[in-house]
Amino acid sequence: MDFMDLIEMPRVDNVKVYRQIQNYELNQLVTQKLFGSLNLTSHHLIFITQTDLQKPREEIWIVHSSIDSLEKNVTEAKFQLMIKCKNFQIYFVDFPTAYCCNSIHKSLESLSNLTTENMKLPFFCQTISKINQEDWNFYSIEKSYKRFFPNEDSSEWRISEINNDFKISPSYPKKVIVPKNIDDQALIKSSQFRSMGRFPILSYYHKKTNSFILRSGQPLLGSSNKRCKEDELILKCALPKGKQGYVYDLRDASILKTAVSKGGGYETEVNYPLWKRINKHMDRFDQLHISYSKLIDACINSSTQFFYKLDTSAWFYNIRQALYLSFLIADEIHNKNGCFLIHGWDGLDNTLLISSLAQILLDPESRTLDGFIDLIEKEWLHAGHPFSKRYFKSAFGTTPQKQEGPVFVLFLDCVRQLCEQFCLSFEFNEDFLIMLFDNLYTSEYGTFLGNNQNEREQLLVSSRTVSLWTYVKNEENIKKFINPLYKINDDVIWPSIFTQSLSLWSNLFLRFQINSKPNDEAKKEIVKLVETNLQVKIKVEKLRNELLELQKEAIDAGVLNSENY
């Protein structure tokens, strides 16, 4: 299929575009009306205003894949298309005829819903940066292993390459960390007993207390009550003496029966005597998608009962729950003797959310920019979070398969809440998180393509597209993402999880409604103050040295001594 087959009308003249823009002086939104021509290319909708002596030509570029939903409103007098984008921007387009309107609508419907990964933007995009293999290999499991176990010999864990051809578990990476005493055969057996072949693997090792987090898919007990000795052995071997094991099952206890009847299940106390099972409810990704849609709806139609709508969207409930559960895990790991196995259904969504948040609380490294990128690679990309499926549509859209679910958006929001509560302890800033959000849905970079490492390898992502981290690490860009007040904080951070402590992510969810200028001004001022402080510190250091040298010279010359007075 060629893109051109989908485009009937590459250009329509006499089009009006309406959008809301911020009037900075009056600090209010005004509707901007633009007149010009609309052009369709393989990946973009480009609107160009008519040249006018008074106004410079303006262009609006909308990537097809950034379109979340299209609503056609054709009456006798009006031929209008409403374009809602995945980043919450909304455009209204008035066409001169019903025919153009229908034609463009049809083309955009197809172009914005392309499911073939190979046709996506990163494969066609000429980004400023060149493909850099180093950035594609920025993360490696060896790096994690070394961080967790600086001394390999005394470690009870090893790297297994059992999944090298993605056969055992297609959603797992090639290499995983497992207990040393468990051989690959046992892993294969365990993988057959776990949902999507996701046998228990090490997610995080807390050096300070030698406690750890494992994660997996649910065990496949089924109604015949199967068991798997090897799976039991993995959990038994993993747990050192004196530690209490907890299976954190992110599903409500009331639905376990249903899970069993569908072939899934849970770790029974009889078969896993050392592990205590705890059921904690988290909304599933499809429920979260509904929550997200309600949240965005509340933000856009905010005139009445705004707080009530926010509350009923349950978005804050999900943030609280996620932070609370990671808090409990961090507390057990750091202050008590707990070790954890986390899973929900397949271990692709909430499992990753909770394990990565717990790491952010526990591990100062994950609060640095590089460490955070590592965490995203390890806990989301390599862990097989289905990015392509979950972020195919944003808050306005759905597909019949209902595979959408903004789990990673929830993760970003949780991290932002933490950044707000610990404004000195994170090396990266809110803009970095917003940048990640934007690239999640539509990107020129290949990082979030596909659903797991297997798919990414098949697509040859690393040789055909540029990594998002290449963009981030560019000297000019990285400045934008650094928190000027960052000071390394070696402690575990304990967030506050009361609803009053949480805030709506205005700079993201209300980004096209609020005026961010006064706050940007404040951010710039902070950067300036930090720079001034640094300058004066350098100056003082220099003067101190100069003074010491002069003092020495004066003493040598005999013009200064302590009895002088």
Partner: protein
């Protein structure tokens, strides 16, 4: 404010008291409870943490049902501190309630704290700071607006408060108007509060304020109508003016039946009449009660729904919206506005003050903001003592009108972080001391009453106290020349832009507030920068002196004398004593250099959980670094420290008591 227990008059001590943690009822800390003549003090046995509560701040004392551990008593304060004490002996509990009832319910002004001897404030304010109680003269503020001019004049008609006892003794009115008209207008207005000038914008449009007219159903007053015409005429840029009644229309209608009401548009020429529904004091009081409950139930997962039900932010929005209406009329339409409500001392004060703050950047400076409060609130007779319940009298008069104003300002600070010279702490502390009765500033209900009480002579001024702690109140992000700081502020009043003021209503719930406070670290940073700048000046000076010494030694003296004379001037410019100049070689010693060298710590502590005195820091505590040792200190330790002038210039640098003692500063 914390004092030394030894210096306070302890009446009684209660042992075996437990304080229940507000965020987790399972956690209880044991300690001792002291009752002094002015405070309730709880000292935790283990952490030595101290909680000091002024009796005047106590809002309610509630005995809860007896539990196994003893008798629980819940004390709520007006600045939103909730303490649940569990007292093991029932008799102690009775004593506590008895003492509190005796001391926390003053019925006469002279029983209030501010009239009592206060050695702490005496030490703090008498020594270092001039008493500038008279910070505010109405005339000088109007002079700042260019008054009197040919349009507006000052009248002494109220010099003895004869036409209106709740107005200031100096009033500004249109120059063209005769006293007779003013007199009649006052008679036609509720409590004599006739239309007078509040603020004059540079474009000539004015903001005037008054109370409702005594019009009833048909009443009119020719002179009052004339006065409005005179006000209208002062502004050449507009053919009409607005009269804004800030009440909901239904309330204004109800007042008609009592012989009061609102202006009839047909009687007043060229006015446009507007109702803007800000609710009355009773609605606001109930709304705050709900809000406090909502903030208190911190485990409440439906917090947002509860917040919606309190309607508090809806009221805040109404006040800001009204002020924005005034701003648009005055600034954008060049049209004057007359504002009133019922008596013109609640909603009128809120909206006139807020509109002035939006219009004029001056009011967003620390000094300007004090002037604004003095003018619109204190002098124009907002009944602080009634509204804040300073005395134990009619509950129905209490209402958080001024608090709402502070909250509106806070909402603006949030939206325009670089536009205010003062920070959030300033507003929070102001809120506290409006209720604390420790200072005379907000005692009484109008200027006349304060004069009668001899407030200026007998009490300390809050403004002086604030001046002594100014380090705590400076907004480090203030950019006086930026676009938003320099122009009319146009706040976003859409509901999602208005926030719940967590750091006020949950001020003492450290579990709810962020662990790291952004603005504190920025303040610390900029204070660090300025201290280091002083230090580098000192180092430069010492370097230059040493260079001179070495040079003098090396070279032929005859050549050098000319040279050195010039240099001496430069180096020693800040030294006052001329004689010292000549003997400066002898002055410089190794010890001296080393003292200077070590006069500052290069790595200040940025975050700490406790002060060196073990006092834990919470979100609202004020903190300051000692420039010498770099430690962060709590308010009380800061008061024990000292400001020393840097030897490079006269700038004051803070040094803690430890360092003062150690280095004999």
């Amino acid at each position: 404010m914390k004092l030394d227990l030894e210096e306070s008059n302890v009446i009684t001590k209660i042992e075996n008291v437990q304080l229940e943690d507000r965020s987790n009822s399972k956690i209880k800390t044991a300690g001792l409870l002291y009752l002094t003549i002015s405070h309730l003090v709880f000292i935790e046995t283990n952490s030595k943490r101290e909680i000091w509560i002024y009796y005047s701040l106590i809002n309610s004392i509630e005995k809860l049902p007896l539990s196994i551990n003893g008798s629980p008593i819940l004390i709520r304060t007006k600045h939103f501190l909730n303490c649940l004490f569990i007292i093991s002996k029932e008799r102690d509990c009775q004593t506590l309630v008895q003492v509190l009832n005796q001391y926390s319910r003053p019925t006469k002004y002279h029983e209030l704290l501010c009239f009592r001897e206060n050695s702490h404030l005496k030490k703090l304010l008498d020594s270092t700071h001039k008493n500038n109680q008279q910070i505010y003269h109405l005339e000088s503020e109007y002079a700042r607006m260019g008054l009197p001019n040919n349009k507006w004049t000052m009248t002494n008609l109220n010099s003895d408060y004869q036409i209106c006892d709740t107005y200031p003794n100096v009033l500004f009115v249109p120059a063209s108007v005769e006293d007779k008209i003013l007199q009649s207008s006052a008679n036609f207005r509720s409590r004599g509060r006739l239309p007078v000038l509040s603020y004059l914008h540079p474009n000539g449009a004015s903001l005037t304020r008054c109370s409702q007219p005594l019009s009833g159903f048909n009443g009119r007053c020719d002179e009052d109508e004339q006065l409005l015409q005179h006000i209208l005429m002062t502004n050449e840029n507009s053919k009409f003016m607005y009269v804004v009644d800030t009440r909901p229309k239904i309330n204004a209608m109800a007042n008609k039946a009592q012989g009061k009401g609102y202006e009839n548009e047909t009687n007043y020429k060229n006015i446009q009449f507007h109702f803007i529904g800000i609710e009355n004091i009773h609605v606001m009081r109930n709304s705050l009660d709900k809000l406090v409950k909502c903030a208190d139930s911190s485990s409440n997962s439906s917090f947002l729904t509860e917040l919606e039900k309190t309607e508090w932010l809806k009221h805040i929005k109404a006040i800001i919206d009204t002020s924005v209406f005034l701003v648009e009329a005055i600034n954008d339409q060049n049209t004057s506005v007359l504002v009133h409500c019922s008596d013109g001392w609640d909603r009128t004060a809120q909206t006139c003050a807020l509109a002035s703050l939006l219009l004029d950047p001056y009011y967003r400076s620390i000094h300007g903001f004090q002037v604004l409060i003095e003018k619109e609130w204190l002098l124009f007779g907002h009944k602080f003592s009634h509204r804040c319940g300073h005395l134990f009298e009619n509950d129905k008069e209490i209402s958080p009108i001024f608090s709402q104003f502070l909250e509106c300002v806070w909402q603006l600070q949030l939206q325009f972080p670089c536009a205010f010279e003062f920070n959030e702490t300033y507003l929070i502390k102001l809120h506290e001391h409006v209720y604390s009765c420790q200072f005379g500033t907000f005692i009484g209900n109008c200027q006349k009453e304060r004069n009668d009480l001899k407030i200026n002579e007998l009490t300390y001024s809050l403004w002086d106290y604030f001046q002594s702690k100014i380090y705590d109140f400076i907004n480090p992000l203030y950019i006086p020349n930026s676009f938003y700081s320099n122009s009319v502020l146009r706040p976003d009043t859409r509901i999602f832009s208005l926030k719940f003021w967590r750091s006020l209503y949950n001020r003492f719930d450290s579990a709810i507030n962020p662990s790291e406070k952004l603005i504190d670290s920025v303040s610390m940073l900029s204070y660090n920068t300025s201290s280091l700048q002083e230090y580098s000046k000192l180092l430069e000076k010492r370097c230059a002196q040493l260079k001179k010494l070495i040079q003098l030694n090396k070279n032929d003296e005859n050549v050098l004398i000319d040279l050195s004379e010039d240099d001496f001037e430069k180096i020693e410019i800040s030294d006052k004593n001329e004689n010292e100049k000549k003997s400066f070689e002898k002055k410089l010693t190794l010890d001296e250099i080393s003292i200077d060298f070590n006069s500052i710590d290069l790595n200040w502590k940025s975050t700490r959980k406790n002060c060196v005195c073990y006092e834990p820091f919470d979100f609202a505590s004020s903190k300051l670094n000692c420039s010498r040792c770099g430690e962060i200190l709590c308010e009380r330790c800061v008061e024990n420290g000292k400001y020393v002038s840097s030897s490079a210039s006269n700038k004051l640098i803070f040094v803690c008591k430890n360092c003062v003692d150690q280095f004999r500063l």
